[in-house]
């Protein structure tokens, strides 16, 4: 056998060994984390002694303690208002009583969130949050969906899905009396799926044959809604924009802005908000050195908190096909009716300190390299379908070194997340331990 055969044999080494090696960076850092983690657990247990809710006496900081006691407020439609209930008493210096939150991990989620660009300024979006935003609390929502281990949703609310489907259909002027179908596989497809799983010695996972989407078709439009209440609108045939607009996969930022203007006007009934705001996001480069931008709109009305919620959760996007025609629109409007509470949040500066101390979640396979590599910060909500809560985070864009074989000047920016909710309400403040997808 030759050396190259032995090298090739490495391809047959157990996946777990590969994964562990890939994840495990510096075992010395790992050991320190374990010590900190166990100490923190002891302190947390001593402080809360089995209570799920607690009044916590903390030094009063104006930025973190609201003047009024806040409570979750939602109106009849389930939309969240930034309503803050008046307090009847004076500020006692105590933090509000709110449920403890679990952050969880990103394990198993997303390969790697990174963006390649020559400069951070090329990465754009329409986030209404800015570093000088004056916010002391933000709402946290409970994810109403329960995910099965195989990635399917348990107990989809078909009634709610139907309502959302018909609402979007009405906005598009479709005939809402037409029958609604679903995507449950027919008998022939079920048999094929069963055969496929049988051939690899597996059982068909729970939920595989359940309907996960509702469908309505009318006059060149096909609407599909899923359990997250996201409605996909397929245009068949695809809609050609007027000649003067470029709406291709790689149209420039300016071209996409221009096309967005036409889309906003043409589909104004779909964007039935008080103040539709354009958000063009993207600007990172793919392996062919092409930049891509996505066109989205959100409701820019209401307070900054309202706008932040709309931007992160309630958006409508437009997508082109390979011919530069409008082929798909996507309306996102998840169920945010389960408001856990309005939680005090830390500042971006405080979040940066936590980042530097290693308290972050990331899918980037390298440790945060240092303060001098932080290029940008923004406040976002993570709304991964498998998370228990939808809560705000500070997303730090950090310049990282990944590809030793790189031959261009592109920089890689990895995304590192620090919970924005004040640490007193987190039962598991994350600490990076060298694990990929931590």
């Amino acid at each position: 056998m030759k050396a190259e055969d032995l090298s090739e044999a490495m391809n047959f080494v157990d996946d777990d060994l590969i994964k562990t090696a890939e994840n495990g960076k510096n075992p010395h850092t790992g050991r320190r984390w374990l010590w900190w983690g166990s100490m923190a657990a002891c302190l947390a247990a001593a402080a809360f002694a089995g209570l799920r809710f607690a009044w916590i006496k903390m030094p009063v900081k104006e930025s973190s303690v609201p003047e009024k006691v806040s409570s979750a407020v939602s109106d009849d439609t389930g939309a969240v208002s930034s309503g803050i209930a008046e307090s009847s008493g004076e500020n006692s210096g105590l933090l509000p009583e709110l449920p403890m939150l679990t952050v969880g991990s990103l394990y198993g989620q997303n390969g790697y969130e990174g963006y390649d660009a020559y400069d951070i300024s090329e990465l754009v979006n329409g986030n209404p949050w800015t570093e000088d935003a004056d916010l002391s609390v933000l709402p946290v929502f409970r994810n109403p969906l329960t995910m099965l281990p195989n990635g399917y949703v348990a107990d989809s609310d078909m009634g709610q899905m139907r309502e959302v489907l018909l609402d979007v259909a009405a906005r598009l002027g479709m005939d809402t009396s037409l029958p609604i179908t679903d995507n449950a596989p027919d008998e022939e497809t079920r048999l094929q799926i069963e055969k496929k799983y049988e051939s690899v010695g597996m059982e068909v996972p729970e939920g595989t044959f359940a309907a996960t989407k509702l469908i309505l078709e009318d006059n060149g439009l096909r609407l599909e809604v899923d359990a997250e209440l996201t409605v996909d609108i397929d245009f068949d045939p695809a809609v050609s924009l007027p000649e003067e607009y470029s709406f291709t996969h790689f149209s420039s930022l300016e071209e996409k802005k221009a096309a967005a203007g036409w889309l906003a006007e043409t589909y104004s009934d779909l964007l039935s908000w008080e103040n539709p705001q354009l958000s063009i996001s993207g600007g990172d480069y793919n392996t062919s050195l092409q930049q891509k931008y996505d066109v989205e709109f959100f409701d820019g009305s209401g307070s900054l908190t309202d706008q932040i919620i709309h931007y992160n959760f309630c958006r409508t996007s437009f997508y082109c096909n390979d011919d530069g025609d409008l082929s798909l629109a996507r309306v996102r409007q998840p169920d945010l009716s389960e408001v856990v509470g309005e939680y005090p949040i830390i500042s971006a500066e405080e979040a940066k300190q936590l980042l530097l101390e290693g308290h972050y979640l990331t899918t980037v396979p390298v440790e945060m390299p240092g303060e001098e590599f932080i290029s940008k910060v923004e406040l976002v909500y993570r709304n991964d379908r498998s998370s228990e809560y939808f809560m705000p985070y500070y997303r730090f864009y950090v310049e990282i070194e990944l590809d030793e074989g790189k031959t261009n000047d592109l920089k890689s920016y990895g995304a590192y997340y620090v919970p924005a909710v004040s640490g007193e309400y987190l039962s598991d403040m994350p600490t990076w331990n060298g694990q990929f997808n931590s």
Partner: protein
């Protein structure tokens, strides 16, 4: 997008699976093939071939760890390409350097790759790795599977380069003994 959602797209034969794979793993795969193939054109072709191979193999496969699954495909395709070009040991890549090191573990005999049953050799390597301390194990895999440079390993593991080289030397000796004991046609 979650890995299991991406895998679900493959199973549903939804071609956005490829886009999501490229988004999540494009850089990762480039890093792997970049240490094997000196030519940028070859690297891009291999990464694209990896996506195609993933498309054609999922289903029936349903990888638990998509990164490892894709990485193995990319690595194999890269080595195959070098083999075809007859340039396995040329190019000054980390792969070529690692072969020089691995020569200590083999006899360089005439037994072919097929005859050696590389799957069996891989199993022996796995078994041997499980007997090693975690740190040694990780350094070995990152050197000879991920082909990371000695300097990077030294930095990541908080050691001098000399210490990493010395550790890998002892690993190769120990692995050779394990392979000889298992009669792995070395």
């Amino acid at each position: 997008m979650l890995d299991d959602e991406v895998v679900a797209l493959y199973w549903q034969r939804d071609q956005t699976a490829i886009d999501e794979t490229e988004k999540n793993y494009g850089s990762y795969l480039m890093a792997i093939v970049g240490r094997i193939l000196p030519s940028r054109e070859d690297r891009e072709e291999v990464v694209n071939d990896t996506y195609l191979r993933a498309w054609n193999s999922i289903p029936p496969h349903r990888p638990r760890q998509l990164s490892t699954y894709l990485g193995k495909i990319a690595r194999q395709l890269s080595i195959d390409r070098l083999r075809k070009q007859g340039s396995l040991k040329r190019g000054g890549t980390e792969y070529a350097l690692s072969l020089t090191e691995l020569e200590e573990c083999v006899s360089g005999g005439d037994v072919t790759a097929e005859q050696a049953d590389l799957k069996q050799v891989g199993a022996v390597i796995s078994e041997w790795l499980y007997t090693q301390p975690v740190e040694k194990r990780n350094i070995f895999v990152r050197r000879y599977y991920f082909l990371e440079p000695i300097g990077k390993l030294a930095k990541d593991f908080g050691m001098s380069e000399e210490k990493v080289k010395s550790l890998l030397f002892r690993c190769r000796k120990s692995l050779k003994k394990a392979l000889d004991e298992e009669g792995c046609c070395v």
